[in-house]
């Protein structure tokens, strides 16, 4: 129980120290707003904030779903065929090391549709962990078990369905958890780069706009919302992982 409370207490302590410092040192709110000012900024416009959150979340979740389907699917294709593996592997790595900040403007121009371009950017960022984890999960089934399947005349589809996919599930889920955080980061980065040429409604866009207008408390409120979203996303995916693997 002490260990459950420790992070919350530490957080409260840090927030208290922050608020005290800001007040005692008379730091102007346009430089560093205190926690109270930030919460107040959120409640000055809660509907708009939550709408922005919904917009960013929609991009994030769509990108995560696409990354899971694409990453999982390509990992399975690689597991089934050496040729597919040789064809896909180097491109997947290239996709991973490509800095999204550099190509996001191009993607925004090429894709045209703002929502789709944001999803494409976030998917590129989120793709690799779920792909790489699933691939190593599919390869993780012990050799003896693969031999056993061979002994009983199982074809590669049976081996895939009864052995390799179940063996890969925990890997896929932990990859999904990493990709979840990255999808959010990718969505934010893409919104930043796209600026007003993008969706013009997400949390990142709001951070950008409030920064220009010196609405620093609002900017921090959007930032805090983003962090909370990241934590919630991580927790939900962690819960999915635990529920799915409860039986093992």
């Amino acid at each position: 129980m002490t260990y459950r409370l420790a992070p919350a207490l530490f957080g409260l302590l840090a927030l208290g120290a922050w608020e005290a410092t800001v007040r005692l040192a008379h730091v102007p709110v346009y430089l560093v707003p205190g926690p109270v000012a930030i919460v107040a900024a959120f409640f000055s416009e809660p509907g708009g904030m939550l709408m922005s959150l919904a917009s960013t979340l929609l991009v994030t979740l769509t990108a995560l779903a696409v990354a899971a389907l694409l990453g999982g699917g390509m990992a399975i294709a690689m597991a089934l065929s050496r040729l597919a593996q040789a064809a896909i592997q180097p491109w997947a790595v290239i996709l991973q090391v490509t800095p999204i900040v550099a190509i996001a403007p191009l993607i925004v121009v090429w894709v045209g549709n703002p929502f789709a371009s944001l999803v494409v950017c976030a998917t590129i960022v989120a793709f690799f962990p779920v792909f790489a984890n699933t691939a190593s999960g599919l390869a993780s089934a012990p050799q003896d078990l693969q031999d056993l399947f061979r002994l009983y005349g199982a074809g590669r589809w049976r081996v895939l369905w009864l052995l390799r996919l179940p063996a890969a599930l925990p890997f896929f889920l932990s990859g999904l958890r990493i990709s979840g955080g990255l999808a959010l980061v990718g969505a934010v980065v893409a919104e930043f780069v796209a600026g007003s040429g993008g969706f013009a409604s997400g949390l990142a866009y709001r951070i950008l706009e409030d920064g220009y207008r010196l609405q620093i408390a609002k900017m921090f409120a959007a930032l805090a919302l983003l962090s909370l979203t990241g934590i919630a996303l991580n927790a939900v995916l962690g819960l999915v992982e635990r529920l799915a693997l409860r039986q093992r």
Binding site: D144, L148, L151, Y152, G153
Partner: protein, 258 residues
């Protein structure tokens, strides 16, 4: 029947590779319990994999009584690890070979129950591997090998990782299962006691390259608890040990042992 089996593994260090098995010839009778006994690295596991069809020999051939190699399900294999599916229950693990043979659960569940009962795991059908002890996991593995009623059962040091008490119990149960089932068993082990207790015939192998060094007839009587206590068993262990010493000594003279 094995005729002049040879197997060589590629090795970067040597041009010709490592010779794992050289000129192995061995006739195995239907229904016999054969122990392949030898130190680590004598190729006994390799030989077992060749018989199972999991690997191919570089030389020689395997001749089957029926002509062709037995179809899937006629050969059971028990590995050193239980190699169970960790996400599946004991019953689902035992069901696996029948499932791969195309049987539905409804058609197979009677046989699965019988196989679990034969290895003394009544009441553990729903248990997952992580909830079972090492010995019980190995029992599931044996039930999985027996559920197809194989003509040939291949076992690769299945009890080597278990504690001595569990090992003794499993050996006794395996011997009883074999007497009852009547299938051919080829049992790889590096334990002289295990080979002496289990087998009707003990084949001694020596390493570098793996080859058959000698053969000793096993014990027919007594069965049951008296077997391990019997003077004939102790004498057999002594005989095998002495023969192993001779073989190792001969190897040392030829410089085969570093």
């Amino acid at each position: 029947m094995l005729e002049g089996i040879g197997r060589r593994f590629a090795d970067r260090g040597t041009a010709r590779g490592v010779e794992a098995l050289a000129d192995i010839s061995l006739a195995i009778a239907e229904g016999e319990f054969l122990a392949l006994l030898g130190p680590s690295g004598c190729g006994k596991s390799t030989l077992l994999r060749l018989i199972a069809g999991l690997d191919r020999p570089d030389g020689g051939r395997i001749v089957w009584a029926g002509g062709a190699a037995p179809p899937a399900g006629q050969v059971g294999f028990v590995f050193q690890d239980a190699t169970l599916l960790p996400w599946a229950s004991a019953a689902e693990n035992v069901f696996l070979p029948l499932r791969l043979a195309g049987l539905s659960w409804d058609a197979a569940k009677g046989r699965v129950r019988d196989a679990l009962g034969a290895v003394g795991l009544d009441g553990f059908a729903e248990a997952r591997p992580h909830a079972l002890s090492g010995g019980m996991r190995m029992r599931v593995s044996i039930a999985r090998a027996l559920v197809t009623r194989p003509r040939l059962l291949l076992m690769d040091e299945p009890f080597a990782a278990l504690d001595e008490f569990t090992r003794h119990r499993l050996q006794a149960d395996l011997r009883a299962l074999w007497l009852q089932a009547g299938c051919t068993v080829i049992f790889v082990t590096h334990s002289i006691y295990e080979a002496a207790f289990l087998a009707r015939r003990v084949v001694l192998m020596s390493p570098r390259p793996g080859r058959i060094a000698s053969e000793i007839a096993g014990l027919d009587q007594p069965e049951g608890a008296a077997r391990r206590m019997h003077a004939a068993y102790a004498a057999l262990v002594g005989r095998i040990s002495a023969r192993m010493e001779e073989i190792a000594g001969g190897d040392a003279e030829r410089g085969a042992v570093p």
